[in-house]
Symmetry: C2
Subunit: 691 residues, 2 copies
């Protein structure tokens, strides 16, 4: 397979190229002078227009439009659209009381200001840090969330303060107890939140994970032998521009500052019939509420996508390190604040992995058997949100399943504590003087469904016992159970929570197309078990701001530009009114029966920290499945070549004609001659394994 | 690493060797004449004795004792013990109203009897099968479960009937509608359950997954390039007898007819301190209830371990097929019914896999970064329970996590239906004429805990909001939440269910040992989200027989021989009284506070079939975690060599001194020259990834 040229006309859903970004910037600058560019990103084609073009390439090609957000001198914020074909600004709108996404450049400015601010220096001295050690003071700049004392007219950040005895130390081990507030327009500290009870800088010995520190306590383990993964004949996927084809799947990979990876036009070639499944899939928002009620910790509830951007924070990935095997990478291009363009090399990686057994069955009568191995295709990005890292994997399986998986790693957000202080259960002392507060990682998966076409209906499915009592004629032995299906006719009905007791799932159905055998609608089933409930209470600040997190599932009717469920501009929103999804749901009466729908799924974990998570966290994965049910006529992977297959007639013929394509590179772990491998000879499927 | 000799004196927990099995059989035969041997298996050493020997190898070595179950002529069943050192029968006990496990030989006998039975032939003719086609009639022999008409004095099986038009066809596509009952003593059919409404044999075209069938409909896909996985320098684990050491883990692998893999004496070497974690881990039982209330389908609720044995049904695994890479295998030895010994080659496989990223963190200030890759060790068996296959993986992670994972594949149990018949929601038509009934796969994980010693206490942990209302001084912004911990003081208190709303977990704690930083007891946390509730109702036949499945968790005080929670002899139990766990729980008042405890965890899925599952099911995985929490002083894997590490001081020095151990065999998927890989050059961690 070869990847084709990328110097074609861009696909309408391709991110803006370097040239396109620059051209939009130049045009805006020409019209409005010097500005800060917070966003210059693809304004996605209207779905109606896009769908026409997808169905008929001779239809007008959707034009390239740039979505631009700028901050003008004086802090005025404008939303703009630039038509790149005609080179015209088609929208220029002043926003009131809204703050655009915070860029990396805005974030990194805060630490430098803090170090020079006399009041911060004073607080550092109170904590026990000498003036001349201010270069050892660090801050993680966070959005302020919402602070009612400061509102949303002034562009603010809060500075979570830390110290490093040595430049290579982990500062999260030395948190400081005060919190400066930074004005991004003035570039100065306007306020400092200081707790009533002061906690001096920790004097504990540093714990670090860098080589010098590891060497000091005994060095690295030397008992890991290499595992080599190679594809000498190349990979099994092809890439044309940003369109990937693999194992009947075809999809386009978009990428934006906000959501990072966006998967578009996901189709599955079902025996020659190219069937649409999802129009657009992305992580659309997330929120990380912290559970310590003491002021000002309520401000710690990051909307990492809406406030900082999974695209803006994405890592440049390295071959053989973040990814192993045969990898294809895609870069990302973003504006700089001043109006240039920056490139993140290898922002996305794409590769295949062996995925164990795809299916197996042995007939116990004669040990005739089939074993077929599975593959998966992984499209991945990793982003760093200050202390935390999130590896986002979109995993495609051969059987039609799509598995979004998120791996949490990085470092806990920490706060200072006195060695004998009671954490009151709001956090855990993970190291002397280090309090890691309880928090949640809640993600919102946006599923723009297209199951066999745009008109879909969502049902809730609960596995429940029959209502008939034990001993009744309908359920004499009491074993009856079934899947109770509840149709969501309106937006209001769709706001539903996970129910572990019924193993609740949700089906995105095309009720216009029944399966020929089961007579059930063709569908994709959302199977998601890591679905921590939003723990901040109803009416709380987080509850108001993160409307999407109130329920596990919400369904809305599709409308262009309803992409991000905490609103288009998230920083410093008060939650009054709640922006995004709660607005779009309206009074809940809108019909979502057999129409173009979007399913919003909130999932994630509650994280009660433990010392094992510190000073750096071993990966914790969160996963869910989108599974075809009543979609394919039967098992869609029977044509994947088996590793081994023998039929009853072949077994009867002493193995003549069996299919043997076992991997010949696999080896016994231990060679003969050391006395172990009397047990180690190879079993064989061709004959009865018992003797 | 080399595997040492296995011809040492056996470890006290090693399964009986071929010679030991034979010697027990010979002794019993000599004393009691010709018998059928259903079980000849290791009678595990008493824990007190075993623990003494583990702690002090100069203590008396636990002797080898065989646990023997036989059926004598006339159907009399005896439980026996044979002391292999003294060659004496130390127990010989006649059982009343109990049936021992059904062997493979007993199972395979049924089909042959069915084919010759005149009444079965008559029923086949009614179904539309000619007398001369009886060799095309097949049956899956199942335990009868419990049928009140037949009780438990007579040893019975039920024969689920199928037909194959051709010997290589999948018989599950051609189910027959009647069900013969087989007497294992008489070796004859004693009754046939015949439905009131008859369903003739399906005339649908066969759907098959063997090569000839695939070739007929277009052939195999030819677009999968090989993925090679090799370990040229060998594996990173060592095996001494049946003891495995890998990445600070050490454990013994037992294996028996019933549970299959048993993991013993699991310890973790924590910086030189060998800490016990689990005394014994196994899948101890399972039940697969079917949800169709129509007679005789209530009998379909297989206890695959107790009634057939995960050991007895285990597959002989093949290199490069079931397992890929560098594999070590262990065989299994079992008695034959007549009193010989059979060997299952490669009953267990052990291998390492790359496991993606272990941890990663980038400092956004300077892009100093660490990326460390993870490994996992997998101990696996696969067993075939008639139509279904279960791949049982015990996955060890470097960070102290143990992850039992079960992969379901194989074929749905099916029943016949008329093409236009209403399944009433109790099943799905997965192919014309094929009704796959709703069912559950519920597994019971037995955790014999030993967290820093035998005296442990179990707590339930629920993530809940503070009770203080929004606006109150204690919870002004409403964001407060914490982990509510409930101690189980008595057996009765421990019977608890999963609660998805609180992301409920269970902690196995050593309350005698507090973590130096968190001040919480050292613990292992059970994190399990696939926890379908038992759907057969309270008081139902399944509920009575599968007492372990009534709740997600039960905890009992450890007692020798309390191993299998549906009882020692499961076939044909009535559930009155409920055997096993309900007996051991007694009146629930026994204290389980700070003592030797066993946690019984029931987990699994409800399976509402869909056509995608037919004629063979793509793997569906079920997984859970046992995670160290407050157990290690901090992240225990910081000494795993990183793939790449740069510190702030190294970044400041332009990369001098960075650790670069990236995998040099990884490659770009597409080479330069085809126009694609302007995007495909390798990112690098050493410099800022943005440009
Ligand atoms: Co966390
Ligand atoms: Co199933």
């Amino acid at each position: 397979m070869v990847a084709a040229s990328s110097d074609l006309v861009p696909h309408p859903l391709d991110p803006l190229s370097q040239a396109e970004i620059q051209s939009a910037i130049d045009l805006v600058k020409k019209a409005h002078g010097e500005l800060f560019f917070n966003v210059v990103s693809l304004h996605e084609p209207r779905k109606a227009e896009m769908t026409k073009w997808l169905e008929d390439p001779s239809a007008p090609r959707p034009t390239r439009i740039a979505d631009v957000v700028v901050i003008a001198p004086g802090g005025k914020v404008y939303d703009a659209l630039v038509d790149l074909a005609s080179n015209t600004i088609t929208k220029w709108e002043l926003l009131d009381g809204l703050q655009p996404i915070i860029t990396m450049e805005e974030l990194t400015a805060v630490e430098h200001v803090c170090r020079k601010d006399p009041k911060v220096i004073e607080q550092c001295e109170i904590s026990g840090i000498a003036k001349e050690d201010m270069h050892k003071v660090y801050c993680d700049p966070w959005t302020i969330g919402f602070d009612e004392r400061h509102g949303n007219k002034v562009r603010l950040q809060q500075a979570l303060m830390y110290y490093r005895p040595n430049v290579d130390d982990c500062q999260y081990q030395y948190p400081l107890d005060f919190c400066p507030i930074y004005d991004g327009e003035k570039k100065e500290i306007i306020y400092i939140d200081i707790p009533k009870v002061r906690r001096p800088l920790s004097k504990a010995e540093p714990v670090n994970y860098h080589p010098a520190a590891v060497e000091k306590v005994g060095g690295y383990r030397n008992n890991l032998k290499p595992i080599n993964i190679t594809q000498p004949e190349g990979v099994s996927f092809s890439v044309t521009g940003r369109e990937v084809e693999w194992q009947n799947w075809k999809f386009h990979i978009g990428f934006n500052y906000r959501e990072g990876i966006v998967l578009n036009n996901i189709t599955y070639n079902d025996k020659g019939n190219v069937r649409p499944i999802f129009y657009r899939l992305s992580l659309a928002e997330m929120v990380v509420p912290y559970g310590n009620p003491e002021h000002p910790h309520q401000r710690k509830h990051a909307f990492d996508l809406g406030e900082y951007g999974a695209g803006y924070m994405t890592n440049s990935l390295a071959l053989g390190c973040d990814c192993k095997g045969s990898i294809h990478y895609l870069d990302a291009e973003f504006p700089t604040r001043a109006g240039g363009v920056r490139t993140i090399k290898n922002a996305i990686c794409i590769h295949e992995e062996d995925a164990g057994i795809l299916f197996k069955h042995t007939d116990f009568r004669d040990e005739s058997v089939i074993v077929t191995r599975a593959r998966k295709l992984i499209v991945q990005q990793i982003f760093t949100a200050a202390n935390y890292e999130y590896a986002i994997q979109w995993i495609f399986h051969q059987d039609g399943t799509i598995q979004p998986e998120i791996k949490l790693t990085g470092i806990l957000n920490t706060y200072s504590m006195d060695p004998d202080e009671d954490t009151k259960g709001w956090g855990t002392q993970v190291y002397p003087g280090v309090n890691a507060h309880n928090h949640q990682h809640l993600f919102c998966l946006r599923i723009d469904a297209n199951v066999d076409g745009p008109n879909n209906t969502v049902f809730m499915a609960d596995a429940v016992p029959s209502e008939a009592p034990v001993g009744s004629p309908e359920n004499y032995y009491g074993n009856a159970f079934f899947a109770k299906r509840t149709k969501f006719s309106t937006v209001g009905e769709s706001a539903t929570d996970y129910d572990g007791a019924t193993s609740r799932t949700w089906d995105i159905c095309n009720t216009n197309k029944l399966h020929p055998y089961s007579k059930k609608p063709t569908s994709y089933k959302l199977v998601s078990r890591e679905v921590a409930k939003l723990l901040p209470k109803e009416g709380s600040l987080v509850w108001k701001r993160a409307g999407f997190a109130r329920h596990t599932v919400h369904v809305t009717k599709y409308r262009d530009d309803e992409l991000w469920p905490a609103g288009r501009h998230v920083p410093q929103t008060s939650g009054e009114p709640s922006l995004g999804l709660p607005e779009w749901m309206g009074d809940g009466t809108e019909s979502i029966d057999n129409t173009d729908v979007v399913l919003w799924h909130t999932f994630g974990v509650t994280h009660i920290p433990a010392p094992e998570d510190f000073p750096v966290m071993p990966v914790e994965p969160i996963t869910l499945l989108l599974r075809p049910r009543n979609f394919f006529s039967n098992n869609p992977v029977m044509d994947v070549p088996p590793s081994f297959c023998s039929t009853p007639s072949q077994v009867a013929a002493n193995g003549a004609g069996v299919t043997d394509a076992t991997d010949k590179l696999s080896k016994l772990a231990f060679t003969n001659g050391n006395g172990c491998c009397t047990n180690g000879t190879n079993g064989t499927h061709a004959t009865n394994g018992t003797s």
